[in-house]
Symmetry: C2
Subunit: 465 residues, 2 copies
Amino acid sequence: MASIGVDGTGFAPTATRALEILLGDRFTTARAVRDQYGRGESYPHLLSPDAAAFPVSTEEVGRIAAICHAHRIPMVPSGAGTSLEGHITAPLGGLGINLSRMDRIVAVNEADLDCVVEAGVTREQLNQHLRASGLFFPIDPGANASLGGMASTRASGTNAVRYGTMAHNVLGLTVIQPDGRMIRTGGRARKSAAGYDLTRLYVGSEGTLGIITEVRLRLYGMAETMVAATCAFDTLAGAVESVIQLVQIGVPVARVELLDDAQVRACNLYSGLAMPEKPHLFFEFHGSKLATQEQAETAQAIASEHGGSGFEWAVATEDRNRLWKARHNAYFASVALRPGAEVWTSDVCVPVSHLADAVLAVRADIDRNGLVAPIVGHVGDGNFHVLFAIDPADPSERDRAETVYAAMIDRAIAVGGSCTGEHGIGMVKRKHLIAEHGADAVETMRLLKQALDPLALMNPGKIFL
Amino acid sequence: MASIGVDGTGFAPTATRALEILLGDRFTTARAVRDQYGRGESYPHLLSPDAAAFPVSTEEVGRIAAICHAHRIPMVPSGAGTSLEGHITAPLGGLGINLSRMDRIVAVNEADLDCVVEAGVTREQLNQHLRASGLFFPIDPGANASLGGMASTRASGTNAVRYGTMAHNVLGLTVIQPDGRMIRTGGRARKSAAGYDLTRLYVGSEGTLGIITEVRLRLYGMAETMVAATCAFDTLAGAVESVIQLVQIGVPVARVELLDDAQVRACNLYSGLAMPEKPHLFFEFHGSKLATQEQAETAQAIASEHGGSGFEWAVATEDRNRLWKARHNAYFASVALRPGAEVWTSDVCVPVSHLADAVLAVRADIDRNGLVAPIVGHVGDGNFHVLFAIDPADPSERDRAETVYAAMIDRAIAVGGSCTGEHGIGMVKRKHLIAEHGADAVETMRLLKQALDPLALMNPGKIFL
């Protein structure tokens, strides 16, 4: 393994030499560089790789993997570095392989509503590129993540209730296997019943099976009209019931976000707003002018039946932005609640019918433990986030947050939910994976891992305990 | 293997005895019964298992698998028997495990829009059960297939353009592994980023990795209004272009089916209709009254721009049924074209932008070879079916059909398409799987197979050559 080498990287000298010859100054052992790839966002420990590589092509990634494979060097792929659960840390050292220089948009097929991008292309870069075509890629996890990273963690975000997650929107992948061989999964057809669904096996595998170097994505036509709306509710249950009914009758809501009263208070403070300090829903509807107007009216009628009030809606871009401003700034508002605090965010996903109970239970836990932690939720699919604002000077605060967080996950799993709707397992949630799926199912996952990565070189320490 | 036994089944006597004790008269070696599970629809060879078992619970399937595992008996799961590519044949003999008696609807969660059914429940049974709730399950492959079978083959059908395939609508599975252990995949949350996506690995695995005994499905609210429409086109290209544009501007069409002129002629003959003998599109729109009306008007406007004429649309159930009658009877119309003929149906899927070319090329091939074979397509996703009506008395006709069919698949793969959009690989398309995905990707699939079924007992001879 990496620790037996003698040249400072921990690698065998021939391995280091081969990587230097291949990559020139795109291979480095400089600490300042390596440390950029040792944490990700919101992971508390720095676990840097021994060296970092910056490939510019699929072929080059294949050659890097072949060298690492021959020398038994662990490989830790990364993209924009926005991972939240320690996915890109290198607990066993090894080579950090950062794909952010693979940022070419390879093809856009307007007629077929698909595109191919290199793994390092970010979602904002793609949407910027698409602007003139009238198409867009809807998956929006908040951060300007790389599309390879989003595929690797099965990301989703506020649009998932209408457009699905990365599992639904990745049509195919180019993957470098641990020994350096390349495979292509999926294809250009919109559907296929041909063989095992390798695409969806690699989506969400967090770099533990191979390195995603290219992603084929589904695109969508920009809606003629977007309507935004907000509404306050007397109770959280009323807000959730409204969404359940709206989805049940088939209203194709594009986004629907829940802010609890603590989050609304934070947003009022941060953005100088005067929203009533009650649970709020933020809606977005996409479609024709007529259809979106009708959807907004239906949402308003349903909200009124469930204690909703102050329903506001807007079509013009600046008015929409004004309405959604509080939601967009939710993260920063949470940070601002406690200057100097670190924000630690975690997510769970529950059946929508359990969402109100799940949010109320964690809110009670937060308050009982004297923590500051607003809650925002992608309420259409039962996914919510707690943004713990933690004083780094008080270690007991982190401990209390971890207690609240563990109980939240246990409750989610108890009602058939997931320990993570969209952040992934990484280092952080490995034990919860077993609680969620059962030991036999996780053993099945481990058999797959062993089959595709028998030397255990790919992103070791992630997903599995 | 199965051939070394001495008791007529080919099984070791202790295995037979164990199955008899477990299942009583739900285990049989009677030829008439076994032969029902040796072919499926539209597969030309009878390859029956040595015996058939009819379990009634997941636990019982687990015990059957444990017995087969201990005695190295191949296992061939089946459901309603509507498979088209020889999935349920038993080329190595073994035990046919028919799940059609596992037909309980275990749970329907109206608030969460999901349900759990045993694998033998058929889609019509489920929708009948759901009728009073205002919910429905949209995936409709034509046949009244079992939901376990539809999951196993990654089925889809006419609704897929709006609602996706089984890959998008299976939320979780109960699976008996080859050694008899049970795992549960997925969960009740609408999305999860927790670990490998086992659900989607089993969906489409055609019984080669384990036996699906329960399926958790996504449900949808019945639309307030459904609008049907038909339209004739001067050219196939005009019909396809209309659909591309419709999807591109984001009209959420629920179904859009293409009938080529040969199919229209067949339908006119069979159903006593007088449609112009031109390519036709059949549409269905789901939504509010206002939204569906607007969608139909948009479709009509776009069709007119592409040589569409005679656009008719209807809202009332009987009027909708009248319009869609020709499409629903397309299969029987093809059969009726040549009394006594066997209909052999095959499907491919291409990028939508290649659909017109792909259909025209196979039409020219069919005509050049003197065959009778109408074409219908799920044009929204580029998937089309050729219904070869073959005289069983003329072996050269089958040969010519196979030539046409092979060329159709090669052309589909050459433009990045799939050798099967929704029927699966089975026995028939194994060599095309390699052409489509490449040897290295198929080798990756084979590694997964070996990891989860190291004794190669699960549905042997399928997917892999």
